[in-house]
């Protein structure tokens, strides 16, 4: 008799959850695999950064790579130059693209596919081909821009405006989609505003957030850009890094980390600005 009750008791005590639900058994294994992939990913991504940091600390005395870098006037001048070029690029992009995107949405919706097609062309023409074409075109009359420093600067900015076209246009256009430009424009016009006032005092302030994310992505791309700057022989940050890599031992490691830091900073700002918005325009790069 007791045997019977014991069995009954055992049956009741038996954990009822898992043997009856085989589907759940996969769950913990899946989580373990996820942790493993995450760990491998983090290690792979961290190693080169750690390696660079260690290398920069190998100089003797230990922090001399960093102090040398801080005391190197050319690090600061090339960095300053890159930022100025980046800023001018952003301003030219905004001046060129905001009125265009606005006008196309308001008056020329049939041109939209064509404009979008043009803004995507830089994906088809890689930077190396673009600079090849630019140098071929602008190293001879009627516009021999590569002959002077100023001309090369102009060419550099124009090349970067082209390079950032896909990101900037998409950012501006995404911003325009969220506001009712037709009503805004009519309201402005009924109050007697001209086109410049409408764009400068009504449309532009409304696009602040989306333009900022496009602008910081452009800044990140321009400050790290090497190919076009190199062939136009401009004293950009990335070309200077390449130069000292050939001549100095440890300092390039410190400068490379600064370069990563700038990208982090720019993308961090975009993440802060774009929190909550579904904008995926941060896919870019100048590899």
């Amino acid at each position: 008799m007791t045997g019977q009750t014991d069995r009954l008791q055992a049956e009741l005590d038996r954990p009822t959850s898992w043997p009856d639900r085989p589907a759940r058994r996969g769950a913990p294994r899946k989580t373990v695999a996820s942790w493993l992939f995450l760990l491998l990913g983090v290690v792979y991504f961290a190693l080169p950064l750690v390696g660079t940091l260690i290398f920069s600390l190998r100089a003797k005395p230990m922090l001399s790579a960093w102090t040398d870098m801080l005391n190197d006037p050319q690090v600061w001048s090339t960095l300053g130059y890159s930022f100025v070029i980046g800023l001018i690029t952003i301003i030219v992009s905004i001046v060129l693209l905001v009125p265009t995107a606005f006008w196309v949405r308001l008056r020329l919706p049939r041109l939209r596919p064509i404009v979008e097609f043009v803004t995507l062309l830089p994906f088809v023409v890689p930077p190396i081909v673009l600079v090849f074409g630019l140098i071929t075109t602008f190293s001879r009359p009627p516009l021999p821009l590569t002959g002077t420093n100023l001309g090369s600067d102009v060419l550099l900015v124009c090349a970067y405006v082209i390079l950032s076209l896909p990101y900037m246009y998409r950012a501006v256009d995404a911003g325009l989609r969220t506001i009712d430009i037709r009503t805004l424009t009519e309201a402005c016009q009924s109050l007697g505003a001209g086109w410049f006032t409408i764009l400068w005092r009504v449309i532009l302030p409304n696009l602040r957030v989306s333009i900022l994310s496009g602008a910081f992505l452009t800044l990140a791309i321009v400050v790290g850009e090497f190919t076009i700057a190199n062939f136009l022989a401009r004293p950009m940050f990335a070309t200077y890094l390449q130069l000292i890599y050939g001549n100095l031992a440890y300092q390039p490691a410190a400068v490379a980390l600064i370069s990563f830091g700038i990208t982090w900073g720019a993308m961090g700002v975009i993440a802060l600005i774009g929190r909550g918005s579904q904008d995926k325009s941060e896919i870019g790069g100048a590899h």
Binding site: G51, T52, R107, L108, G133, N230, Y245, E282, G285
Partner: protein
């Protein structure tokens, strides 16, 4: 209507001047011989060993890093999005992917030299602690394999970024429905998840291919131009006449544009197909 076209004139003028005309110069030049007569010989000359080799190497490196980066990036994205990990990891990996996919050429190349270069800390660690002499066994970071390892650093996070929406689009109901119908995990993946994800996966990998194919800075910084890629060869032609034929250089660049165009077209076609499941 006619008058309002003036509003887009600056944009088209700028694009024409700094994108269309420069590219057209290369197109026209690629169809000319040295005397300026029309010819297709430049394109036939692309089959010469030097240029053909450059295309093969470029395509090989782009394929390898697109497929590997695609698979690994997908696994990482799936792990942090649908793998049962706490949400902060998802946010962290997505933000980091935005940053790392933008890590540009020169600093990235240097970072890898400092890590797995001849005196990099992993190389030294393997040699002194584990007694494995990687460079003695023939590995060098300045090779095709080395370049592939470096490219993966921006390919993998780019994959994470562009595949994430597709993984988000996998509905829980599909999995539950398949389980209720008695399907195993393997059957769920083979019959439901993978077919739905396939256009996104393929499209993303094609985008990665184009991303690697157009890269010049990383390879140049890493190898100093001693690896025969299309981008490196064009660069060499730009700084000095390495091909001995200016017009062949133009054809080389145009071949590259053609491959990029096919890549982008294939991507947008697949992206449209993928959208069907993401409503």
């Amino acid at each position: 209507m006619r008058w309002s076209l003036l509003g887009v004139f600056p944009f088209f003028a700028f694009a024409t001047m700094f994108l269309v005309i420069p590219t057209s110069y290369l197109v026209v030049g690629s169809f000319r011989d040295r005397a300026g007569n029309f010819t297709v010989q430049n394109y036939l000359n692309l089959s010469r060993p030097l240029t053909a080799n450059a295309y093969v190497t470029s395509i090989e490196i782009s394929l390898v890093t697109a497929i590997l980066g695609g698979i690994l990036g997908f696994l990482l994205a799936y792990a942090v999005i649908a793998g049962g990990l706490p949400t902060p990891f998802r946010t962290g990996i997505m933000t980091f992917s935005g940053v790392a996919s933008n890590f540009a050429g020169v600093p990235l190349a240097l970072a890898f030299v400092f890590t797995i270069g001849r005196t990099g800390f992993i190389t030294v660690f393997l040699n002194t602690v584990l007694g494995v002499d990687v460079y003695g066994s023939g590995f060098t970071i300045y090779s095709k394999l080395g370049l592939e390892i470096v490219y993966l650093y921006f390919q993998l996070p780019l994959m994470v970024l562009i595949i994430a929406p597709a993984i988000d689009g996998l509905k829980k109901e599909w999995r539950e429905a398949s389980e209720n119908a008695g399907a195993s995990t393997f059957q769920y993946w083979r019959l439901i998840a993978l077919p739905i994800l396939m256009p996104s996966l393929l499209g993303s990998m094609i985008l990665l291919f184009g991303n690697a194919f157009g890269a010049q800075a990383t390879a140049f910084a890493l190898t100093g131009g001693f690896i025969n890629l299309v981008t490196i060869l064009i660069g060499g032609q730009l700084s000095g006449d390495v091909l001995g034929d200016q017009n062949l250089g133009y054809a080389l660049a145009m071949g590259m544009v053609a491959i990029m165009a096919v890549t982008i077209l294939a991507y947008s076609w697949l992206a449209r197909r993928a959208e069907r499941w993401q409503r």
